[in-house]
């Protein structure tokens, strides 16, 4: 089961995990990225490149599936406007081997951050907006795989 979803709607990590757990693999890892509401942040807007974003997510998922023995993989990324404390991204992996599940999970979020066409714009309570700057550390995290 490889499942990639780009959506405006919220998602439920417990439900995503339950589907991965039902595969009977024994080891399920997950990562959730959430909007931090600090520094006066009111909301986050996720701009994306329609078409390419889905393709890039699918390519990243396929790459993970080729590198690790996974029984299941779920990658969900939201777009549009998100409030503080809303979930942005979910990565879940199921494998017979815990190391494979955990490593594939880390790989997926590292590559999703560095290689999928999304851009974050912050809006603050005072009305100002700011495009989030890319960080060299994210490229380095993606390059280690």
């Amino acid at each position: 089961m490889i499942e990639v979803r780009l959506q405006a709607e919220r998602f439920d990590p417990g439900a995503e995990l339950a589907r991965l757990e039902a595969l009977g693999s024994g080891a399920v890892a997950s990562f959730i990225g959430i909007v931090r509401g600090e520094g006066g942040l009111a909301s986050l807007r996720l701009d994306h490149y329609p078409g390419m974003a889905e393709r890039a997510m699918q390519a990243i998922a396929d790459e993970a599936a080729s590198r690790w023995p996974l029984l299941g993989l779920v990658l969900v990324h939201r777009h549009g406007t998100l409030a503080a404390n809303e979930r942005i991204v979910f990565v879940g992996t199921a494998s017979r081997h815990r190391a494979a599940a955990l490593e594939a999970c880390a790989f997926l979020i590292d590559w999703a951050k560095a290689k999928a066409p999304f851009w974050k714009q912050e809006t603050f309570h005072d009305g100002t907006t700011r495009w989030v700057e890319a960080r060299a550390i994210d490229d380095a995290a993606a390059a280690r795989w």
Binding site: Y49, H77, V89, K113, K115, A116, P117, F118, A134, D138
Partner: protein, 81 residues
């Protein structure tokens, strides 16, 4: 051409149809040409180190020839996830 994030805001639109001039080879060449013809483009393309590109939805360097590609996108480094 498609523009995303602050590149889109600087140019003031999310894309435009561009016929690649015969003497333009690379993406960087095309950005030079567009910058020469419009202040908005010049401002958006001023700092090439802050720009990334995708040709037919594949990430490429600005030094890549445009060739027969049908879709070119210009945007800042990605920040999703």
């Amino acid at each position: 051409m498609l523009y995303f994030a602050w590149v889109r805001e600087a140019i003031g639109r999310d894309g435009e149809r561009v016929d690649v001039p015969a003497d333009v080879t690379t993406i960087a060449d095309l950005l030079d040409r567009l910058a020469a013809g419009s202040d908005d483009h010049a401002r958006a393309f001023a700092d090439r180190a802050r720009l990334r590109a995708a040709l037919d939805q594949e990430f490429v360097s600005l030094a890549v020839p445009i060739g027969q590609a049908r879709e070119l996108a210009i945007f800042p480094p990605v920040t999703g996830g």
